[in-house]
């Protein structure tokens, strides 16, 4: 790929006290690409992605978006650069309905500067109907929704605002087979719209089917990045468990 990467993360470090959670990791992402990030629980994948989404600003290393060096110090900064994140916890306010969650921090206002709830509900209905046609009760509190519905709200929030870079942290962890298929469909569709996607998972099979490249992280260090078509599942498993690169290299 000769074009400029959408995202370049160079020599990222993050320490929590004595724990070196992310240790000199460099990774990049191209438009229309799905980059899988694999590793054990606690390997540092989520922390790395939180550095990009602004939730945990990194102290060392640099981030470039479209070739330009940027500083991402808060979730607001990240959103400014078109980075949207679907967190593993979904990060929804349980007491509020789907439209309120979808527009949280970016509400639609009326001409008088007040919240335009009906307009938000209307927009929310349209975007959610695209994702999950059976999901009608969007004005219920999120806590009364099923896992799949909650996931739909979180995904709708990420795609509604024309994200260019999407971070999906374990997007199918809480889902049944049918809903997982829905997420796979969605990823393919977003890919065709030239959106770059970081797909974080500890489930090898998930990532293998969807991603163009896989990167493996172990104990905060990047073991390696490979084109998915060039490696077998066993080889990647070896990287995850033993931190060993495939022999062929």
């Amino acid at each position: 790929m000769g074009q400029t990467p959408l995202v370049e993360m160079r020599h990222i470090h993050k320490r929590f006290g004595g724990v070196h959670a992310v240790n000199d990791v460099s990774i990049d992402l191209y438009p229309g690409e799905v980059a899988g990030i694999l590793g054990h629980n606690g390997a540092g994948k989520t922390v790395l992605m939180k550095a990009l989404s602004g939730a945990i600003p990194c102290e060392e290393g640099e981030i470039r978006i479209n070739g330009k060096k940027v500083r991402i110090e808060s979730p607001r900064d990240a959103r400014k650069y078109g980075i949207e994140t679907i967190y593993q916890t979904l990060a929804l306010a349980d007491n509020m309905d789907a439209p309120s969650n979808l527009f949280l921090g970016r509400e639609i206002m009326t001409q008088y500067g007040t919240l335009d709830d009906l307009a938000m509900e209307n927009e929310a209905r349209q975007v959610i109907a695209r994702l999950n046609p059976n999901f009608k009760n969007i004005t219920d509190a999120v806590k009364n929704m099923s896992g799949g519905q909650r996931q739909s709200v979180a995904i709708a929030r990420a795609i509604y605002f024309n994200a260019k870079i999407l971070i999906m942290d374990e997007p199918t962890a809480a889902l049944g087979p049918q809903e997982t298929a829905m997420v796979s469909e969605l990823i393919k569709q977003l890919k065709s719209e030239d959106i770059g996607i970081f797909l974080i998972s500890h489930d090898l099979h998930d990532v293998f089917d969807l991603s163009d490249r896989v990167s493996v992280i172990k104990n905060g260090k990047l073991i390696g990045t490979r084109q998915t078509k060039d490696v077998t599942k066993d080889e990647v498993l070896g990287m995850i468990i033993m931190g060993k690169l495939p022999e062929a290299d």
Binding site: A55, P75, A91, A93, N95, G105, R106, M109, L115, L118
Partner: protein, 396 residues
């Protein structure tokens, strides 16, 4: 049949329970006091007394919704009230027309500063609100004493006393009816506008008869209230008093706070923080700033309560508002504000305040000692919170 009716009109079960509880308390107290409770005089006093607690309770709703607590509201009332009284009587020229508006302004600013102080410790220094405001309970009570070394300040400005709802502190029959008309017109307009806007987007609207039902109830409450207030005369005359000024202030505060909670970004963010602080942060909400602002609003409302209290007493005394925090928190919780955060209704707090005050003044009518009243009010607080716990557990 009944459950279908309730579903159709879409009324909150909890609110309904509160209204029923209030009616039961009223009827019981009326029976026990041989009809004294429902006299115009008692209802008028009940309305005035409730307004102080209700005003602070609207602020407490927001505080509790964003998962904090403010134990210092009674002391804030005492301190701001003392400062207002001191400025009015000893510092500014007594009798000057600008005196009382300026002292009120000073009081409100002081309230905001108290809120800023507590909010700063809580948000930016991470001291739990329980501790910060428990300390505030002591600090501001002590400060209230220090303003005049414990002396009571009196008398207040003549015009200022109107704000307390005393003999001249009400707006008369004519204005009361005009206001009632405005309120009814506002309900009508609101309902029609709401229907039209829902139609525009093709959303389902509530059945017409259900909204008509609510309008009828609303109109009945407004008219009934004005009739009772007008049935209470000024001493030794037949001049109706009408709506007391503190109640007017309370209505304005309630409308203002409801709008703040429902239609502004700030209100939406307070509820988001209460629902999931981490999610609010990730959505780019300035959680610390919003939290500090909530405490500032609380401080301003305590100052408003301080104004009414000093005007009503026609004096500033350092014990004003002692134990008010209990009534205020109880009012908010009884009114449907969940201590787990994220849930609360401003208008519910008004209902809660009326319930608390009804119990309190009903017991006074029955000649129950103040010690025994404290026991009962304390027990009611526990039961209200227990109800909240049970309600949250049983929800689907």
């Amino acid at each position: 049949m009944l459950s279908r009716f309730l579903r159709q009109v879409d009324i909150d079960n909890r609110m309904l329970a509160m209204i029923i509880a209030l009616l039961v308390i009223w009827v019981t107290l009326n029976f026990m006091t041989d009809g004294i409770f429902f006299t115009a005089r008692n209802m008028y006093n009940l309305a005035v007394q409730s307004s102080v607690v209700a005003i602070m309770a609207t602020g407490m709703v927001l505080v509790i919704v964003c998962r904090h607590i403010d134990l210092s509201v009674g002391s804030q009332l005492g301190f701001t009230g003392m400062v207002i009284a001191y400025l009015q009587v000893h510092v500014f020229t007594l009798g000057a027309a600008w005196n009382w508006p300026l002292t009120i302004l000073c009081g409100l600013i002081l309230g905001a500063l108290i809120g800023l102080w507590q909010g700063w410790w809580i948000s930016y220094r991470g001291v739990p609100s329980f501790v910060t405001t428990l300390a505030g309970l002591l600090i501001f009570r002590g400060a209230a004493y220090l303003v005049t070394d414990g002396r009571t300040v009196a008398p207040m400005d003549k015009t200022y006393q109107v704000l307390g709802g005393g003999i001249d502190g009400s707006i008369g029959a004519t204005w009361s009816w005009i206001l009632a008309g405005v309120a009814i017109a506002w309900m009508l307009i609101n309902t029609t506008m709401g229907r039209r806007r829902s139609r525009k987007y093709g959303f389902k609207v509530k059945p017409f008869w259900a909204q008509l039902f609510f309008l009828a109830i609303g109109t009945a409450i407004v008219c009934g209230f004005v009739m009772i207030m007008n049935a209470y005369y000024k001493p030794r005359t037949e001049i109706p008093r009408g709506i007391p000024v503190p109640v007017l202030i309370m209505i304005c505060v309630t409308v203002g706070m409801s709008l703040l909670a429902k239609i502004t970004r700030f209100g939406r963010y307070v509820f988001a923080i209460g629902g999931n602080p981490e999610a609010a942060e990730l959505a780019g909400i300035a959680v610390k700033k919003i939290t500090t602002f909530v405490f500032m609003v609380m401080g301003i409302l305590s100052a408003v309560a301080g104004v009414i209290t000093t005007a009503r007493l026609n004096a500033g005394a350092n014990s004003m508002g002692t134990m008010a925090e209990l009534n205020v928190i109880a009012a908010a919780v009884i009114g449907g504000t969940s201590l787990a955060g994220g849930q609360g209704v401003i208008s519910g707090a008004i209902l809660g305040a009326v319930i608390m005050q009804s119990l309190d003044s009903g017991m006074v009518l029955l000649g129950i000692s103040s010690a025994m009243r404290q026991v009962v009010i304390g027990a009611v607080l526990i039961i209200a919170v227990w109800f909240d716990v049970v309600y949250n557990k049983n929800r689907p």
